[in-house]
Point group: C2
Chain length 350, copies 2
Amino acid sequence: MAAAVAGEEEVTNRQVILKRYVTGCPTVEDMEVVTGTLRLAVPPGSPAVLVKNLYLSCDPYMRTRMTKHAVPSFVPDYVPGKVLDNCGVSKVVLSGHPDFKPGDLLWGVTGWEEYTLIPNPVFCHMINHREFPLSYYTGVLGVPGLTAYAGLFEVAKAKKGEHVFVSAAAGAVGQIVGQLAKLTGCYVVGSAGSDHKVNLLKAKFGFDDAFNYKKELDLNAALKRCFPHGIDVYFENVGGAMLDAVLDNMRHRGRVAVCGQVSQYNLERPDSVDLFRLVGKHIRMEGFLVSEYAGEYRRRFEEEMARYLTEGKVVCVEDVAEGIEAAPAALVGLFAGRNVGKQVVVVARE
Amino acid sequence: MAAAVAGEEEVTNRQVILKRYVTGCPTVEDMEVVTGTLRLAVPPGSPAVLVKNLYLSCDPYMRTRMTKHAVPSFVPDYVPGKVLDNCGVSKVVLSGHPDFKPGDLLWGVTGWEEYTLIPNPVFCHMINHREFPLSYYTGVLGVPGLTAYAGLFEVAKAKKGEHVFVSAAAGAVGQIVGQLAKLTGCYVVGSAGSDHKVNLLKAKFGFDDAFNYKKELDLNAALKRCFPHGIDVYFENVGGAMLDAVLDNMRHRGRVAVCGQVSQYNLERPDSVDLFRLVGKHIRMEGFLVSEYAGEYRRRFEEEMARYLTEGKVVCVEDVAEGIEAAPAALVGLFAGRNVGKQVVVVARE
């Protein structure tokens, strides 16, 4: 089957669909795993590829796509009754695209299902480092790794000797941010939501310090304890009360790289943050999207990160859910902080 | 008297003092005009100057100093029972400082009173262009002008052809921002709080378009009407609902120069703004303080602005209150938008 250019074989195809637009915290009932069929074929003359999905990435930003936006967001909202999509690792079954052939391993945007027909694989890239677990391309070698790398160096412009704070630091992006900042010669502190994660940050990822934000009565005091001289760079993953406390502790010309705001996605109205404090210390707050750092930049990142992994300078922790049926709960779990490290779903191992 | 190095003469000295910390909108009852006396002398051997105050600047940020801050702000909070201070234009009466002599005209930080002993005049500068009204050094040639200039060019980095939005556009800073942006070849729209001010923006300051935010039911729709292709640069003077609407209308890699947030200073909790929108369009939001743009930069600004004024390329509108007794009401009026243009108080004309 794998070698055929076009086939007539039909396979069953389990899919995770959005059942309804979400208000508040998403639940597994907002999604449904349905079983359909897919004809293994690519439209003649099209650049489509048909892939078998191996690993799917669970990312907090997916929550923002589960609400209907009056003003279009940077990615399309999910549609009730339709399959979710996000980044993942896939194997090419059939290809109408000159760059890809059956058997190739790709990472990029795919469906939350067993097989996906990708009409035009512009957001798919070849996996160049087969010496690592394939799932790394949903994490440290994929979008979260590139996000950490571009956010820290291009947006926050962290430099040796600076004091860096990372929230959601045990997560897919945060763990890489912290390690890259340490490699740059920064003083690095992270926050996370359990003592287990705090221990991971210090013992496994080499953070200089870390705290469990759920146990701190006063986030401002916690930050003052960890940063008596203030914060130069804040890698923002959570928003709300944490951002508010950070702004009180930034240094002059501090930078906030806004990657995500996981504490805010489930709220009807975002928490209020006193932005006038940007003025007094000339704070720069800058959002960014990983899609801006494509092409040559992404390839350079992949090689550099692969080298760090080989040399043991960067490590990663993954939280692996087994089977596509486990995907909705894995996604929902992100908002309760149930995952330890990068949350990934194995659909198939090959 | 003016030529004496140290004298024993005593003068009456009316002062505006803060009566109590302010909650909510400031009222004239939060301040008091008291009459004291001042001995006309500078401490022997000190670099102090004793000045007679001519023009005092009323600025919205002063409200932020009327609250006691747990975390120190960028300028000291005012103290109940003590005189207010802010920028103004003054004449040197006595000087222990080598750079200043009696009769010199200065602009810089001084007290809200008739005479001020400035222990060390590090924030005082000579007035180099006597061909303009002295009050201009509380506005277009002083802190508001420099704020507009540095904010637009150094922080927002506005370039020819870009689309610029300015809120509180008829105010001291806004009117200069708009004119400088027009001189740069930008498309410029401003918002203000009355039809009279909107007319000023278009007829006197040359804005391409303007709207009265109090008459718009939907700020988002107003911005869409004025910027069908989006906003590159937002010069932020108001915060809250306006900032929220602007973020929906920014273009990719748009910049928000945060100068002030006048709509927020009287609130117990700031309005909530959805900051996740910084992410999707890679928006940079950056605060700044005019004090960072000192020395040679400030002198260059003064010469450039003086040239624009001479050539009629920049004009300014002032709202002048007469006498120090009028100062509390002039300051309070800023928050009701009663001022048309730069609010200044004349204490004495020479």
